[in-house]
């Protein structure tokens, strides 16, 4: 075997040029070549105590799959990853590895950590491109489990249970499976054909996917048990978008990030679908600083905006989005208006012509400047308004990306299902809710979080359901 690569710097991820990609929806990161992947894998020290695995919510055997890459056995590497993860091509792209596996990497103490996420992506893409191996159809154990929602937690739970021989049906409210992976995360970060491929893999494992069924409406949780399911996992995701409650939020041209991204991604406005209207061009302000805000801003840019602002009330240091997404956004020309908070959105109102078609559309946003005061209970410094600091930004649309509150549909139709004061479903460490045989995980429990934490919850629940049903 070749010698360990002791370079302090990891192999850079090849990306589309910022000027070019700002005008297309093709994937930003292009992925490692075989040579780059092997070279990067050689940086792994194969530590005995495997700190990286501790950092992974689904406990992928990281040093083991990287060893296979070193040997050029990419399919072997894939087989190791899929033992723990049902969605490797997705995780390799959207996991915040820098705060998980990679943050524990020994190589990161002096220099950069091994590019674990990039290697995972390489392996998954290699498999999807070259492998003809069909997943083995597991032997049925005769137990039926229903999964509510086909997002990351639901798909993970379904995959893990199907591999153990359970007869699993996933119910999805929308017309396409994938949840936030298809309606939320944009094509340039996660191509939809990759999600479709992962869903296909699950179908080959025997998972049934029923779209157009809203649990809580079309069928209730209790009816799922009546039909014959022995356990239910609820991964229904985050819910209603929050708004700020400032004047002007109902003007035409004000979107929630959920609506804007859903129009672009799921409803394909990004492909110029003649079926889906979306406001494009002009100046766009995105309010908020999370990953969803970055996705909305970069989508608006690609749809043809002349100027896109991120308006966030704290400073760059507190910005919750992944560093990589922020850097990409900056490179593409998104302007960050930090320590800045909107207090009113202004609309056109032509006093001489009440039928002016521009009436009622957004024209500007009034903001105040903020400074950081004393830390709050979570240790984050609280933003405080600077007196007399009002100023106006000219904008044509505003996208509110300030979080969501849990969906009421399941809670309101499931008797005895306990929720916390924010409306999140209450679960124990196994993902079990207050109802017997009903498990939950992902954003429906935690509120808006990451794809991988939802997958971790799906995995935990799958194990608990298996323990419960094999008793």
């Amino acid at each position: 075997m070749a010698k360990t690569n002791m370079s302090l710097i990891r192999n850079a991820m090849p990306t589309q040029d910022a000027k070019v990609r700002a005008h297309n929806f093709d994937e930003v990161a292009l992925g490692y070549t075989e040579e780059q992947a092997i070279d990067e894998a050689m940086r792994c020290l194969n530590c005995k105590n495997m700190p990286c695995v501790d950092g992974c919510p689904v406990k992928i055997h990281i040093p083991e799959f990287i060893s296979k890459i070193k040997d050029g056995d990419f399919e072997g590497a894939y087989q190791i990853i899929t033992k723990s993860s049902s969605l490797p091509a997705v995780c390799g792209r959207v996991c915040p590895q820098e705060s998980q596996c990679e943050s524990k990497c020994v190589r990161g103490i002096k220099g950069e950590s091994v590019g674990i996420g990039r290697l995972e992506r390489f392996v998954a893409d290699w498999h999807n491109t070259f492998s003809t191996e069909e997943p083995a159809h597991p032997v049925s154990n005769g137990h039926r489990v229903a999964i509510v929602g086909s997002g990351p937690s639901g798909l993970t739970c379904a995959g893990d249970l199907a591999k153990k021989g359970y007869d699993v049906t996933v119910y999805e409210a929308l017309h396409t499976a994938g949840g936030v992976l298809v309606y939320g995360i944009p094509e340039f970060r996660l191509p939809k054909k990759i999600v479709a491929k992962e869903v296909d893999t699950l179908k080959k494992l025997g998972v049934h996917i029923e779209t157009n069924v809203v649990i809580g409406k079309t069928l209730t949780i209790d009816e799922l048990f009546e039909i014959g399911y022995e356990a239910v996992f609820v991964g229904s995701g985050a819910g209603l978008p929050n708004f700020m409650g400032i004047p002007g939020e109902s003007l035409k041209g004000v979107y929630s990030a959920n609506e804007f991204l859903t129009r672009s991604n799921l409803m394909k406005a990004y492909l110029n679908s003649p079926e889906t209207p979306i406001m494009k061009g002009g100046k766009v302000a995105v309010v908020g600083g999370g990953n969803v805000a970055m996705d909305a801003a970069r989508t608006a840019l690609r749809l043809g905006a002349e100027k896109v602002y991120i308006v966030y009330r704290r400073s760059m240091e507190e910005l919750p989005a992944r560093r990589e997404e922020v850097e990409h956004a900056e490179e593409e020309g998104i302007e960050f208006r930090l320590l800045c908070n909107p207090i009113e959105i202004l609309g056109y109102n032509n006093p001489d012509d009440t039928r002016d078609p521009k009436n009622g559309f957004v024209r500007a946003m009034i903001c105040v400047r903020m400074e950081l005061g004393a830390p709050d209970e979570r240790g984050r410094r609280r933003p405080v308004v600077i007196p007399d600091s009002e100023f106006t930004i000219d904008v044509d649309s505003v996208i509110m990306s300030i979080g969501t509150s849990p969906n009421p549909l399941i809670k309101s139709t499931t008797e005895g299902l306990e929720v916390n004061r924010w409306g999140g479903i209450v679960v124990n460490e196994d993902g079990l809710t207050s109802r017997n045989a009903v498990y939950a995980g992902g954003d429906a429990v935690t509120g808006a979080a990451t794809v991988i934490s939802a997958m971790g919850a799906g995995k935990t629940a799958a194990k608990a359901i298996d323990d419960y049903l094999s008793k």
Binding site: V213, K217, G239, P241, T262, K268, E275
Partner: protein, 284 residues
Amino acid sequence: MYKIVEKKILNPTVIQFYIEAPLVANKAKPGQFIILRVDEDGERIPLTVAGVNKENGTVKIIFQVVGGTTKKLSYKEAGEYIQDFVGPLGVATHLDGLKKVCIVGGGVGCAIAMPIAEALHKNGAHVTSIIGFRNKDLLILEDEFKACSDTLHVMTDDGSYGKYGNVTVPLKAMLEAGDKFDMIITIGPLIMMKFVVATARPYGTPVTASMNPIMIDGTGMCGGCRLTLNVDGKKVTKFACVDGPDFNGYEIDFDEAMSRGRMYSDFERHAYENSCNLFKKEVQ
């Protein structure tokens, strides 16, 4: 895919379908809606359930051809399929305890009002129905309303059928004459519902209005269907898909809802024209 079992043309622009969707048929109640897509990559449009046939598992929808999607849907024939059909969504109209009700429907909104009138009639409530249309050609469901109403007023804007005038004329006359209703339930164009509320206001009669804003998922995710209610002097944002579609008429900001409803009117006109042109080409 969901099969169209029956098609009936109610008037030149209004069509009725029965669509095979047993799970929806089993659950749907008056006032709830469904979302459908005609074909792959199609728009998701909300339509209120106009009735169900539980025996054969079909759901009745009645729609007016107003844009590209409804145009495309109108070309479908019985025996053909549509891509997606999901529901029932929204909260059913609250009918419990209502003894004397006035139903006010306008245009294709009458299709939504009808199952509510039927359900009330079945509950033994006294039902007065006022249905209004632009003209005689656009009249729908007169016989059905007759069958479930104690009193029926048919109005046309041009007087070509029934009585001349809009729906508020008989409503006002009844209220003025001292008729008391437990509830007025109104469904139709926003401007009509706004005036129904204005007509009822001096008499303090409660009004429920059924809202049909622009919507995508219909399950409480996108927030596109939000509307503003004025509750005790405070502005409250509500979502028609999960909180509605029925709201207290006195609290709804109708002007804002009308403005938001026109957000994509340019786009919709183009889509409608394109879809007509496509059809012309197919015919040629």
